[in-house]
Symmetry: C2
Subunit: 266 residues, 2 copies
DNA sequence: CGTTATTGTCTGATATTTCAGACAATATGT
DNA sequence: ACATATTGTCTGAAATATCAGACAATAACG
């Protein structure tokens, strides 16, 4: 095995593929790309095969097709592959076709330039939180987090805002029980989390200090769509020891910019 | 038909699919995504089917799979689809896994901020030129070009640099004859183009004035890889009437930054 | 209103793709 | 040097995904 722990990814649909069962090439491609995204590093074909639970011969076949299309590309000389140039182009097309998204990205750029802090755009993917885009701090204290990696919602300030439209019961059904457990072993009481969500809704912003890790102070403000719903949030990720004066200044900026990006009610 | 001209895309391999012939789902996916990239706007399933030469029933099947994976997403309410969020995440992973590419992007950002001009990163895709990334001018005179769209190499300043490693004969074999014809009908003499390529190699930069269109002055400088080869170029796209003093100042900046991004020889 | 084109969903049959397994050629470890 | 694991490539055969075409339901048009 090349490195790290590589486990079998269970696909949503068929739990245990019975023997003699086959899977469609397209589905293999989808699972493969998602596996690569989670792994966040080039992988070898053999490891990919194990990770997505596909036969090696099939995996070679698929990988070669994707390589030819530049959706994947070879990295290094040891048979490693990772996302290719075509993916960059598709992703670029996605993020620029839509005027609203373009404005958001411009704001992200401007805020990063003005403040020098780490700025993120966040949202949900299923019942997990993900960073959709970010600009890393230019300072020596660089906290960077990976775009697209799924994180339990209760670990995040943004998560508290993004559940604002749900009742306490809905939130309870929505969050997998294990997601209240933090990386350091502490467990957030669900009741406490529900009241955090309510507070975030009332305040119109959310903050967490040293929650998912000991070093960061996160603050999030909602970007509302045309119906007033919160699909995305704008966040600062600061060193936890940032002085209060600086924090409140940044919070005000964050809320102002997020409000400016929100669409008028329909 | 919804809009615009939608022609049949010929796939590289099988010229005319004989009747009774089938195509693999994966290949359909690849052709579909490339078609969507060229079209640069949301499309309806029926139009996609026509464009990629696939049966409608197959196209629905594939599109629905990709929608579920968020590789595509619905746009509007009229059955239009375009690239989805997952593509953004895959593309982001591509462009950040590699330290060199990250440095290039930072340079792009900085140059755009410092000069306010349109800056591009360009490269080849097969025997065509494409813009890999860009930062549009902030000024009122905004010339934007689409990332990922294939353009004949002789239309561009970058193209002249990117062929620098080829002999005159190789260039002749490489460029499709039709690519010497400019959008306005003028035709570049191949001999003239070859000497442009030689000049670009000798100077270490390339400029074109009012070539692909009447309004732009383009200047490109090479980014060299570890072997001294030119894979990518850095460009400014300026209004054609930019004063000479400003142009030479920008050219100097461009060459300096491109050189800084080039990797030391191995 | 009749005519024509489109959309989205189903169906059954067959051409094809996925799959298990074998293979030689390297690596890796003891 | 031996045993073990891995890589990349092929093969034949069985399971099935792709395909043509039909269908009802709208939409577009004169």
């Amino acid at each position: 095995m090349s490195d790290g722990a590589i486990g079998l990814i269970e696909t949503e649909a068929g739990a245990v593929p019975r023997n003699g069962e086959r899977r469609r090439g397209i589905d293999r491609v989808i699972v493969l790309l998602e596996a690569l995204l989670r792994h966040r590093a080039p992988m070898r074909v053999g490891d990919i095969a194990r990770m997505i639970g596909a036969p090696r011969s099939t995996t070679y076949e698929i990988v070669n097709s994707l390589l030819e299309a530049e959706m994947l590309e070879n990295v290094g000389t040891e048979g490693y592959v990772y996302f290719g140039r075509a993916m960059h182009l598709f992703g670029w097309a996605y993020s620029h076709h839509n005027a609203h998204y373009r404005r958001i990205i411009e704001t992200l750029d401007r805020m990063a330039a003005e403040t020098g802090e780490t700025v993120q755009l966040c949202g949900l993917r299923g019942n997990k939180y993900i960073v959709l885009d970010c600009r890393d701090s230019s300072g020596p204290f660089r906290i960077s987090s990976d775009v697209g990696v799924e994180v339990p919602i209760p670990w995040t300030a943004s998560g508290r805002l993004l559940l604002g439209h749900m009742s306490e019961e809905e939130v309870e059904d929505f969050i997998p029980p294990g997601d209240y457990k933090l990386p350091d072993g502490r467990v957030i009481a669900p009741a406490e989390f529900f009241s955090d969500v309510a507070l975030a809704r009332q305040q119109g912003f959310s903050e967490t200090a040293a929650l998912a890790d000991r070093f960061t102070w996160c603050m999030a403000a909602p970007i509302r769509d045309g119906h007033g719903a919160i699909n995305k949030t704008l966040c600062f990720v600061l060193p936890v020891d940032t002085p209060e004066a600086r924090r409140s200044e940044l919070l005000a900026l964050l809320c102002e910019r997020a409000r400016a990006l929100s669409l008028a009610g329909s």
